[in-house]
Amino acid sequence: MRSYLALLGAGFRRQTTYRLALAAGLVTNAFFGVVRTAVFFALYRERDQVAGLDVTDALTYVWVLEGIFAVVWAPWVWEMAEAIRSGEFLVELLRPGDPYLRLLAFDLGRTTSVLVTRTLPTLVVAGLVLDLRLPATLGGLAWLTASLVLAAVVSFQFRFLFGSAAFWTPDYRSMFMLLFPVLWLASGFVIPVGFFPAGLRALVDWSPLIPLLMAPVRVATGGPAALAVAGQAAWILVLWLAGRLVLAAAGRRLVVHGG
């Protein structure tokens, strides 16, 4: 347990070191947030509610999206695949403890740093400037924090699965590139899932993409928090099992290859 905590701390420090990149990232999120805000203000000029969402819901969605963007689409997504390709990943399998948990601890350290240095300031400033529907009670904030951290865990689990593709093919990026547009839309990064047609929405609601963005948005806007967080936890369990299976299969494959 101590070693996993140490890895978490190391990941946190690693990510917090790059101050200039952090400033550039905050500027990027702020810019896209302002543009999306202007779009929703213009859309809601003549209407109060569309598909059960009002302008406050939409703006809260916008700023939670900008806040969590760098967690879900972390720039280090290819580190594991590159380590597998170069053979460095072998060291991971030789180290003591569980490789999956070790990778999770380090990744979670980095995403926690992003949550503290990017998500938190983005939401605080946006919440002060605009009328957003963010929780005002301590209990509500605790639910939102839990939901954001669980979103970070799920994003690691996706990175792990995509990185594992490198065990089987050297062109590990192609699969991701073809899938990316679908993930991008279905996870709600283009428009809120609430605006999807009913059939598509029902399909997406039962997918592991909801925990990435829409679950924290629902918790923030006062939806049933316990249900959203329970859904995230359930998908973490499923993705954890999938990750373990992949790792076991990959381990056998490495042995066949002779390490």
Binding site: V35, F41, L178, I191
Partner: protein, 269 residues
């Protein structure tokens, strides 16, 4: 410096042959670049159909702007992908750029021609497809003049994006580390220009009409394609300014690139 375009054509052809050696790989990447446009346009179409209009524009009219912006992005990235900050940063840190400077060719021509990326033709084609689809839904009556305006929008916006990329690459020669902030101007500017400009505040509007004129390049010709009157302060004759302003911005980007190259000192041994 070499003034023979043949050199650059040969460099580009060599790059194309390298890509063509792996047709499946090239096909997947080209398709992926196109699918992104389809998905984004479909998502925005779903959103706009729920609301019916934005800033007085019908959904199909807004989607035409999206198509123009994606076509321009694809076109600019075919040539300019190698100028993205992270790639220039790599050229500098690996010392590759030292070798580029010793070659009897212009450094800009060499970098652009050697790394021409045809995958982004997929994005340009999908953007053009979105323009045709949206124009059909919006009831645009295509005349040679209107087609010319659409082409003008794509060409000018692509020139502005290429100008931004050149300027950013010039800055990277000095800073070495690339910066995510360039994305604000390239992708942020195109995203902003995909909605009618009147929905933004005056500061954003001024910035993207006159300083980084990607909004001018897309919005003003699109008014002509759709047969719309511009809002107050944006008269129709501005369309004559689109090409000169885009050309001036492109020249300024080229100047920034040259300044950056002059300050290039390499990164060690």
């Amino acid at each position: 410096m070499a003034e023979r375009p043949g050199v650059y054509l040969r460099l580009a052809a060599a790059g194309l042959r390298a890509h063509a050696r792996r047709p499946a790989y090239l096909a997947v990447r080209t398709a992926a670049a196109a699918v992104l446009v389809v998905v984004e346009v479909a998502g925005v179409a779903l959103l706009l159909d729920r609301f019916g209009s934005v800033g007085g524009w019908r959904p199909a009219e807004v989607l035409l702007l999206f198509g123009l912006a994606f076509a321009a992005q694809g076109l600019a990235l075919v040539a300019g992908n190698s100028l993205e900050a992270d790639k220039v940063s790599e050229l500098v840190r690996r010392g590759t750029f030292d070798q580029v400077l010793t070659r009897p060719a212009s450094p800009l021509g060499w970098v652009v021609a050697s790394y021409v990326d045809v995958r982004f033709l997929g994005r340009a084609a999908a953007g053009a497809g979105a323009v045709v689809w949206a124009a059909d839904r919006a009831g645009v009556d295509w005349t040679p003049g209107r087609a010319g305006l659409a082409a003008l929008a794509v060409a000018c916006a692509a020139a502005v994006v290429f100008g931004i990329l050149m300027a950013a690459a010039g800055a990277t020669f000095v800073t070495v580390q690339g910066s995510e902030a360039v994305n604000v101007l390239v992708y942020g500017g195109l995203y902003l220009s995909s909605y009618p400009m009147q929905i933004y505040g005056s500061a954003l509007r001024f910035l993207f009409l006159w300083v980084v004129p990607v909004g001018l390049a897309i919005y003003v010709p699109a008014l002509g394609v759709l047969g719309r009157q511009g809002p107050p302060g944006l008269p129709g004759w501005l369309v004559w300014l689109t090409a000169p302003v885009a050309a001036a911005f492109l020249a300024a980007g080229g100047l920034a690139w040259r300044t950056g190259v002059r300050h290039y000192v390499g990164t060690g041994s």
